[in-house]
Amino acid sequence: MEAPPTSRVNYLNASYGVKSWLFTTDHKRIALLYLASITVMFFVGGIAATLMRFHLVQPEGALVQPDTYNKLFTIHGVVMVFFFLVPSIPATLGNFLVPMMIGARDLAFPRINLLSWYIYIVGAGFTLYAIMTGGVDTGWTFYTPFSSNYAHTQVIATALGVFITGFSSILTGLNFIVTIHKMRAPGLTWFRLPLFIWSMYATSVIFILGTPVIAITLFLLGLERLLHVGIFDPAIGGDPLLFQHLFWFYSHPAVYIMILPGMGVISELITAFSKKKIFGYTFVAFSSMAIAVLSFLVWGHHMFVTGQSVYAGLIFSVLSFMVAIPSAIKVFNWTATLYKGSISYQAPMLYALGFIGLFTMGGLTGLFLASLATDVHLNGTYFIVAHFHYIMVGGAVMAYLGGIHFWWPKITGKLYPDGWARLAAAIIFVGFNLTFFPQFVLGYLGMPRRYAVYPPEFQVLNVMSSAGASILAVGYLIPLIYLTWSIRYGPAASANPWGAKGLEWETPSPPPTENFEEIPIVTEEAYAYAEGRTAHV
């Protein structure tokens, strides 16, 4: 029996006023600060995508000049990668849940947590400034020598924005690593941790070891642009490909930063909505770590056709096949978890099931790209675009939405309307596939990416893709409406509306500022659901 939320003190009503939010050190409030910011950036990047898809309904381009088109796809990439996908789950759900799932009162360094948000805001500010004062047209990959020597757009401002935001990631990763090592509740051994924590840890390892390299790379790019000479400049013997090596050393692991947290969310959703413990816990946990490590060994597969040595290409190709294995292990384990589970189909589960299917498709298509011979044909085409959108949107964004819905009652103390949520999930699923499946075909047929115009024979598929994009946009707007509505008008949520296992569900919804009255003592394994009709596997 608990008091109605409005009369109980929780982290949302413990203090009022703008200052209590802007100077908070409560990880839960910081998570909400991030949630608001990245939602804004998601729509900035989404507007760029909408304009692109409008433009591409006609072969000669329907909307903008080619130079502007270049700016659109660059802005879409920069904003979506660095300002939405990379921070999305870690900075929102991670910040909120990591201390709660391990039975701690906050992260190890709460003030650094707040600092990381302010750093994000400053970085986003520079990037938005760049967008509003002419944009940038180099592609989110900033390849030299175009970016260092020939582009007449806001390269430095954008690079500076990304550079600054990188430190936000580094501080978040640092906080998570120290917290998970040093602040677990008594009895919470490593192998009793929720798999979401394992994925946050693995993601943090990548944050720490990868992000500094993009920082120095963009720093060097900025210097070269300012000084008109630098280490990537062929005129003094520089190698433009070196930029690519340094860039992709981070940016490939970055894509695993974008998917690993999603995988962690899926492990939580699949178990909660099958009422069954995860199949192969140890395999899933170690797969997260394996992905984090292997992700650093494959970056050259982005450079197969740019002039890299074929011998290096061979090594990177083999390793790229290997990195698919731990991801596949996870998919098998999630599927096995479903087997003989007591499955219910609320919105978070729909997102989770959608993830498994779409991520698998995205992952499998990556194998065509890992293979040197086929990559020669597919590189630089829409096949690549489809591949990574299946993983990033069909995978990461759906996991993000599933997680937001699943933990929404805990975060806000309110229930959202599940009927509308399931409708939105279905619309997103349909819209997504209509947008991106035609792009596989387009790429196979040879339509290049980053082109403002295309041969007329590709028009039908492009129109299908744009139609799908409009459906997808509607699908994304619907949760914005009902989630916002639920904050004020939604029914109050109990501590554990889903009947899920995990320390976060043992606190009131919303939780008090200090999370736990008493630090819990953990005595059971993760996902210790009652073994009803489940077979013992």
Binding site: P99, G187, L220, L227, G237, E517
Partner: protein, 244 residues
Amino acid sequence: MRKGARRMSETVSSGLPAHAERHHVGHGPELRHHFEEAEQQHEASTLGMWVFLATEILFFGGLFTAYTIYRSFYLPGFEAGSRLLDVKAGAANTAVLIGSSFTMASAVHAAQTGKRKLLVTCLILTMILGCVFLGIKYTEYAEHWHEFQVPGLHWDSAATFFKNAPNGSVELFFCFYFFMTGLHAVHMIIGLGIMTVMLILSWRGRFAEKYFSPIEISGLYWHFVDIIWIFLFPLLYLIGGRYQ
């Protein structure tokens, strides 16, 4: 995990009071409220600084990687450029930084053993040596500027042309010289800022045997900056030897 199990047995078997009462027992104001014990907080801050230093290894590492590649391609040019650097200044700076690491380690020792005056003295000495380093660096930079050896800003190819060194490769070397020592100098300046804060807090008697973690982790940062220079000296100043 052992830690978790140990604490569980402590709380369960030793009959310690509930958290609300335990909270006010046996710790000073420096214990932040989200930590259970001072030891936990100390370990967390040390681990946090080491994780940050790992990021710094990768940050400078990008420059070291690029340097390695170009040195392997353009050794004659890198040798020529290296010989234009002042070895005496570089060696002196190396000695100065090593000295500052010694005084920094002594400062940590002083904090650990509760010797406030020694702590303050060692911090001041560390900062003085840091400033000496930057001073020597400045004179070197001024000399390079005077000799038109600053790429992009004040460069004369004819003045730095060397037979057998591919055209441009000396300028490439100097790009590395300025980028690497410049980035290092920025880290030194930040280090001096950190030391200023530590000095003020030490002067006020903030640190003693029970609580010296900020001094310790500031020291870790300072030693790291020293280590970067330990590599920069041979890699920039001693390429190809000085025997010709």
